[in-house]
């Protein structure tokens, strides 16, 4: 049923090459987006828990803004609105960035900042779930604020939230498909293109679905391995403290005109 994927396309490639190129962009977006999101998320999550009111308020503001605007809207804000509100020359320069970078960069920004806000909340939950005695014992040993976070609080909080970070990994990689709305030829966009070129809708999206499922499985298994590797000898297995909150799946309105 997937034979059509190996047929020649008009540009001399095979349809499977389109799919693989789409997969490449999906993976690149998910991978780099994840690490940026993780770095920002940890910093902002810590910021949510510090004594300094200003820092805590700024971290809170970040989370509320980026978590509560739908991903699709954020995608459009970065892609369409940002160049308009920047000073003329800079805005024009951004519009001139050639594809695929012209859509990859805004998509990367959008997904990492959105996911970072979600990770920040998990990190905060993890930190707040630790007994107060941990920070007190560290302080009593003369470890200051930074050293206490670095060596006592954050390592424990991150271990605690590995299960909920697993959902965030899944979340960012599923959300990569939203990037097709700003013209990034990632996996879903390529599937769509194949479907339009061959009229084999079922095959095209069936193949994409299988790839997404396989990726999800790999991501899940890797997180399980990480969880195992980080397990503290003698301690009980960690529970999902932040609850099984899944990232909201982004749904495109049926009538949505997809930007190509």
């Amino acid at each position: 049923m997937f034979e059509v994927l190996f047929e020649q396309t008009a540009d001399g490639q095979r349809y499977i090459d389109w799919l693989l190129s789409g997969l490449g962009w999906t993976l690149a977006l998910a991978f780099f987006g994840w690490w940026i999101a993780f770095a920002i998320g940890v910093v902002v999550g810590i910021g949510r828990t510090v004594q300094n009111r200003l820092v805590a308020a700024l971290a809170r503001l970040y989370v509320e803004i980026f978590r509560n605007i739908p991903v699709l809207v954020q995608m459009f804000l970065w892609y369409f609105v940002l160049p308009e509100i920047l000073p003329g020359s800079l805005g024009n320069a951004i519009k001139q960035i050639p594809p695929p970078w012209g859509s990859f960069v805004p998509a990367l920004l959008c997904l990492s900042l959105y996911t970072a806000a979600r990770i920040a909340e998990q990190v905060r939950a993890g930190i707040e779930a630790l007994p107060k005695g941990q920070a007190e014992a560290a302080n009593a040993l003369g470890l200051g604020g930074y050293l206490t976070y670095r060596y006592v609080i954050v390592p424990q909080a991150l271990r605690l939230i590995v299960p909920s970070l697993t959902s965030e990994v899944m979340g960012i990689y599923k959300n990569t498909s939203v990037a097709l709305t700003i013209g990034l030829m990632e996996l879903t966009a390529q599937a769509r293109q194949i479907s339009e070129a061959t009229f084999q809708t079922f095959t095209a999206f069936g193949a994409a679905t299988l790839i997404y499922l396989a990726l999800a499985l790999i991501a899940y298994q890797s997180m399980m391995l990480i969880d195992k590797a980080l397990h503290i000898p003698g301690s009980a297995p960690v529970k999902d403290i932040a609850g099984p909150e899944q990232p909201d799946d982004v749904q495109l309105p049926a009538t949505m005109e997809v930007v190509k």
């Binding site: 007994p131 005695g133 941990q134 007190e136 014992a137 560290a138 302080n139 009593a140 040993l141 003369g142 470890l143 200051g144 050293l147 060596y151 006592v152 390592p155 424990q156 271990r159 503290i232 000898p233 003698g234 301690s235």
Partner: protein, 255 residues
């Protein structure tokens, strides 16, 4: 040389000076005008009913709780809001908690090495040697590579004592170190504390272990309602308390 001796005053004879200490939680005064001096090498046992402010007092001494009034001077350094002072005081003050508070993600020996390396600037090798030496002293060096969750409560508390000692503190604070332990483990921890006392460590212990108090305490302090109500040498205090409140407290813990 000359400058140094001129700039550094002789160490005060009292290592801890607490004057008119007040600590409030909201409008509730947990400590009300507490005065306490601890001489170098002195062993003090603090007892009193639950909620009388014992923990709050020793937590103020290393600034885990911030006091609202009065003065606390540790080894010549007054505790104010200056973080540098607070951290240097904390290096000289070891603390042992009722709930051990070991770092569960670090092995026993790493628990003991963390602060000496990061705060005192010891090399890993020196910190390791020191940690093993002190773990041996509390007779738990054969468990050095285990994790806290793999140890019994009594073992964990002895590790916590070793961890505090690795900073080579000038004074050790204990907040009910045996209250969370099963009865059969109380002894091993108390023995460790007695040895420490015999080596001349300055100690302030919140505990209701009267045997320990009689054996090592130079002074027993009885607190009630956020104040020091009575103090004296252990023999007199346990045999013939002067105040009614101490009498009724003692009758309760003796049964």
């Amino acid at each position: 040389m000359l400058q140094e001796s001129a700039g550094r005053p002789a160490p005060p004879s009292s290592i801890v000076v607490v004057e008119h200490l007040v600590k409030r939680f909201g409008r509730f005064a947990a400590l009300n005008d507490v005065n306490l001096e601890v001489a170098r090498g002195e062993k003090i046992v603090i007892c009193g009913p639950s909620g009388s402010g014992k923990s709050t007092l020793i937590r103020c001494i290393n600034h885990i709780e911030k006091h609202d009034g009065g003065r606390i001077v540790i080894d010549g350094i007054e505790l104010t809001d200056r973080m540098a002072d607070i951290n240097s005081v904390r290096c000289e003050v070891g603390m042992v908690f009722q709930s051990f508070n070991l770092f569960p993600h670090l092995s026993v020996v790493e628990n003991c090495m963390l602060a000496p390396i990061k705060v005192r600037g010891l090399s890993r090798l020196d910190a390791h040697d020191r940690a093993i030496g002190l773990l041996r002293k509390v007779r738990i060096h054969d468990q050095a590579n285990k994790y806290p969750a793999q140890l019994s409560g009594g073992q964990q508390q002895r590790v916590a004592i070793a961890r505090a000692l690795c900073m080579q503190p000038k004074i050790m604070l204990f907040d009910e170190p045996t209250s969370a332990l099963d009865p059969e483990m109380v002894k091993e921890v108390l023995e460790t504390m007695v040895e420490l006392a015999q080596e001349g460590m300055t100690m302030v212990c919140v505990t209701h272990e009267m045997g320990f108090a009689r054996e090592v305490a130079d002074r027993v302090i009885f607190m009630d309602g956020g104040s020091i109500v009575e103090e004296g040498d252990p023999d007199t205090f346990f045999r013939a308390p002067r105040t009614e409140r101490a009498k009724s407290f003692l009758s309760q813990i003796i049964h």
